[in-house]
């Protein structure tokens, strides 16, 4: 089977369900997207929309009770759903890697940085300890850590949060993965450090030509990092497109609501009320009749009682809404 040049991750109709006493929690209800080499896809949504579970589902790291389903889940043409756990562990850390939200607790306190870095490489490649050590130093320097060689002897508790996150990034890159998944990598960090880490990720992506999936709830991060955006709500992707498209012309009422919630310097007048989206996210236990956003949508109509179709608005541009794009009132011009 001939593969297109470059790498890609293809996801079609991914679902994650968790059986509870009260019923089945459908946390991810059939999402589809694609990430290509050298591209950053931002999955943005509020807490509980299923974005973290999506990333765990891709890596095969879901909790034991959760059930993953997908029509298609391929990485570089390899069907991830068909892999055994052992084969999947070969893929993890090697072709796809992940960094998490809490750098303070994501490193084992009992072992040195060097030990944990080298271990990531030696698990997948037959290299000597010296070679592993050299690669570790190389990557530590790449992520902006000075005096890398002496850092190897240090323990995680001796580093600050920002430094630990850099170590996590270096550790993820030890085998040169094609795909890097970042689950809210800067949320737990100081604002100044946030910018540095994002900048670092951008640089690394360019240098190593990686694909990045960046999961976040922060639209500012999206604006800075995304080539393409997927907006998630209640376990579904409600809108996708390039960053420019989604920001300039948001086509889903939820996306619009989100954008109206944030003050934009230069646009939002002083004293002006920020928008808010009334209502709460519906329970994801059991089936949801119709559009999940309907009970909070200012444009809801009778047609919203049945599941809205995914409208194709162009290459890579999708909206899950019954309304015609032109039917929405214009957003205030910049």
């Amino acid at each position: 089977m001939t593969e297109p040049a470059g790498f890609s991750l293809e996801v079609e109709n991914l679902t994650v369900s968790i059986p509870l006493a009260a019923g089945t929690l459908r946390a991810v209800r059939g999402i589809s997207f694609q990430v290509n080499q050298g591209e950053t896809l931002c999955i943005v949504g509020e807490s509980g929309c299923g974005k973290s579970l999506t990333s765990l589902a891709l890596m095969g790291l879901l909790p034991a009770k959760a059930v993953r389903g997908a029509d298609r889940l391929t990485l570089n043409g390899v069907d991830l759903t068909a892999l055994s756990e052992r084969q999947m562990s070969d893929v993890r850390g090697e072709s796809m890697a992940m960094i998490f939200q809490e750098p303070m607790t994501s490193l084992n306190p009992a072992y040195t940085i060097g030990n944990q870095l080298e271990e990531a490489l030696r698990r997948h490649r037959r290299v000597s300890r010296t070679e592993a050590r050299e690669r570790a130093i190389y990557l530590l320097e790449k992520v902006g850590i000075t005096a890398a060689a002496s850092r190897l002897q240090q323990y995680p508790h001796q580093l600050s949060g920002g430094l630990r996150q850099r170590v996590m990034i270096a550790m993820a890159l030890m085998c040169g993965p094609d795909l890097l998944i970042c689950d809210e990598p800067t949320t737990a960090l100081d604002v100044t450090i946030q910018a540095q880490i994002l900048h670092l990720l951008r640089d690394l992506q360019r240098e190593f030509n990686m694909a990045i999936i960046l999961i976040t709830h922060d639209l500012g991060v999206v604006a800075r990092m995304a080539d393409r955006v997927a907006v998630m709500y209640a376990g579904e992707i409600v809108e996708t497109g390039t960053a420019a498209e989604v920001f300039a012309a948001p086509s889903h009422p939820y996306t619009r609501g989100l954008l109206q919630c944030i003050p934009i310097p230069g646009r939002t007048r002083r004293g002006e009320h920020l928008g808010s989206i009334p209502g709460v996210v519906p329970s994801l236990v059991g089936e949801i009749a119709g559009c999940a956003f309907a009970n909070r949508c200012p444009h809801a109509a009778a047609a919203c009682r049945s599941e809205p179709p995914a409208r194709d608005l162009g290459p890579g541009r999708m909206v899950r809404c019954v309304l015609e794009p032109g039917a929405l009132p214009q957003m205030e011009p910049a």
């Binding site: 993890r92 850390g93 306190p109 009992a110």
Partner: protein, 305 residues
Amino acid sequence: MLVYTAKRIVLAILVALTISMLVFSLLYLSGDPATALAGESATSADIEKIRHAYGFDRPVWVQYLSWLANAAQGEFGNSLYFRLPVWDLILERLPTTMTLGVSAMSFAIVLAIPLGVLAAMFPNSLIDRAALFMAVVGQAMPSFWFALMLIVLFAFTWPVLPASGSDTWRHFVLPTIVLGYYATPAFMRLTRTGMLDVLSSDYIRTARAKGLRPWTVLFKHALRNAIIPVVSLAAVQFGFMLGGSVIIETVFALHGAGFLAWESISRSDFPTVQAILLLFSLLYIVLTFVADLLNAWLDPRIRVG
């Protein structure tokens, strides 16, 4: 780490001194020790003679200090019953108790830790419930009764093991099982809780995300962190075992320090009783000190600071 050690040493010494005072004052619980020593049919002249001979006529704190000074040199006087130096008596019996303690501890660890790990890996499964059941049974089972039942089973019904004495290794099998089983529940629960905590931690998620093999995640990453509190517990449990050895050794007539303690207590052999009490307490203090150090050394956050 150095400061930590120094603090611990000072604490240990203070505790040891306090215990020594308590042990020393045990003699005075019955009132006048000279009267107690002299016996029922003694005249007041006899009592005075004994009082002077043993130095009970000196001020209390002088008696304590001289007792302490002697104790530090291993000089506890003679046993009232055997008329032999107490220290020699104890030294003769101590190896038996130590053997029992070490083998019981090993039994407990070999049984409890794998069970605890398995129970944590498969929570609410059959093995988890079995492990917890075993722990509850172990906590509810009086050790002396368990000992007697085992004797009935293995020394009488199927005579494969001796019921009493301490000559061969066979004599240690049943005592080891009883004493070891006594300590197993605590180890199992601690390992299980510790592993459950650790297995749900973020760094284990990271380890899995790196693609590490399950065994590596379990042993190199998880157990290494979960084992730290178990080390402290091992010292505490060994201390309890020393106490429990009194019962076990007595039931099995194992000639160890615990049996000697009980015999001496029954015979009001004060010097021996005091010496053994002091010894067991000191052993416990030393063990907890070592466990604290090990604890600190195992956790880089304390070791490196």
